[in-house]
Symmetry: C2
Subunit: 294 residues, 2 copies
């Protein structure tokens, strides 16, 4: 089972561990059987489901949007200003606008912007093998969710369509909104206050708040995903942890540290080695990285 | 359709508006047709799906728990101390405990505590007609969600089972948790910080964060639900707003102001009159209030 359902995965241990896991937890005669309602899978987004270099898509969006708003910023300024400069940029480009307007702005950008290296729209920068994995899990009764550091509203502008997930299963960082009854009726206005930065130990917290069940599959790629994978691994059920390792400078990128925000991979790779999690070696395990252009 | 699916509803306008609405939005030949993925219904809990007098079940739980912890509080002290005394009580009784332990404490209490007037367990204090409505909507492709001022963790200890909703569709107020790798592995410890008080204008905000789609059905019973009903009513689709009006001092209670927290009904009843929302007159519209004892 699963062999022709993961055509972009080479016949290596990574694929084998996925196929074996899915077979075990869905087999009613297996000691590892898990009821459908408990088949929860959680995925990081940037670097796990799509390319995050040379910078997060949402950061590229924010820089384009700042320029459009007449207050341009540069990556160099962000590097110099650190997290507070980044937060300022997010506030400038993500606040003072209704949620409906913001969704339209995001969709416009996603349709027009191009990835600087690959020259394709950002939604084409998803990983074909991970898309196949989402499909495999979905067909086997899993509920797949995204828990990302990216903004929920930004992600929902493409993720539902691209990954085939309902919006309520796409969860990221959250800014406050203000409810008001405006001239065109009730609306939610995005404010500058950031309520949740959905990274690190916040991810299990968000999973608890948004799902209220312990996942049995978790996939990530940096130390910011470690807590999510630990939380999942501690389930009393059989679980699967996947770490996407960026080893492919030809077809994508090879790196162990995000050059923009500096998140590393030391802790998650050490945990993967110690706990026998599945490390996906992009160069070795995937026969394709991005979807074929249509 | 629907007639024998709502046996605890009398043949009045309230039932008629529900049945007509469901028929219209599920009929592919109707101009009001709404695709299944967009059939979202949101419900307040206390006073809308179950009895909230003489005090919220969660408050009764907190008072019992405070006594059990050797630091008893009384309703009179809470009245005198107002919101800050209430928050202190919640912190005492809801913090410093892992989410798993807290769920077990809640389930124990729900199994043993009895409603002071009806002498039945609190989960038997749900409204039979609303349970039938949840079932009708569910069978017609709706996703039903709860957005309550009560605590998410407390509600999930009974709501999934009693209402037949997965935990991720039971959303309330949220306290912060701290992720730690304790002696028995990774766990989430409930802290004293309240992150979200899910009432009033927060409800549309929470709906946006947790669902990311505009509901087409909303039900509430106090002014704290007004924003949720307004937000739903502003959908471009055909919508249904339900206001449960407590008019039945014999079988339940008759009141227009919550005697504990003081939430009123003036605004929501005024909006219902102006916008032709469906007001459910409990005494007139329901042939039964609580489920028959089994």
């Amino acid at each position: 089972m699963g062999d022709d359902q993961l055509p972009s995965w080479r016949e290596t241990l990574a694929k084998q561990s996925i196929v074996e896991f899915v077979a075990a937890v869905t087999n009613p005669d297996s000691a590892d059987f898990v009821a459908e309602a408990e088949r929860i899978a959680v995925f990081d987004n940037d670097g796990t489901l799509w390319t995050e270099l040379p910078m997060y898509a949402q950061l590229a969006f924010a820089l384009d949007r700042a320029a459009e708003l007449g207050d341009p910023a540069s990556l160099e300024e962000l590097h110099a200003g650190g997290m507070s400069a980044l937060v300022d940029l997010v506030k400038l480009t993500h606040a003072g606008i209704t949620t409906d307007e913001f969704a339209a702005v995001c969709r416009r950008w996603l349709a027009s912007a191009r990835h600087p290296r690959f020259g394709r729209p950002y939604p084409a920068m998803i990983y074909q093998p991970m898309l196949e994995l989402l499909g495999l899990l979905n067909r086997n009764g899993f509920s797949c969710w995204i828990f990302s550091g990216g903004g929920t509203d930004f992600m929902r502008a493409f993720a539902s369509e691209v990954y085939g997930l309902p919006p309520h299963r796409v969860i990221g960082s959250v800014g406050a909104t203000e409810f008001r009854v405006g001239p065109s009726g009730p609306e939610l206005v995005k404010s500058a206050a950031i309520q949740v930065i959905n990274d690190g130990p916040q991810k299990p917290d968000s999973i608890h708040t948004h799902i209220g069940q312990r996942p049995i599959v978790a996939a990530g790629n940096t130390d910011g995903d470690l807590a999510m994978l630990q939380w999942t691994a501690a389930s009393p059920r059989r679980t699967l942890q996947l770490v996407v390792h960026h080893t492919d400078s030809e077809r994508e990128y090879a790196y162990d540290r995000d050059p923009v925000l500096g998140s590393g991979t030391e802790q998650i790779l050490a945990a993967a080695a110690e706990d026998e999690w599945t490390v996906i070696d992009m160069a070795a395990d995937w026969s394709a990285v991005h979807p074929e252009p249509r």
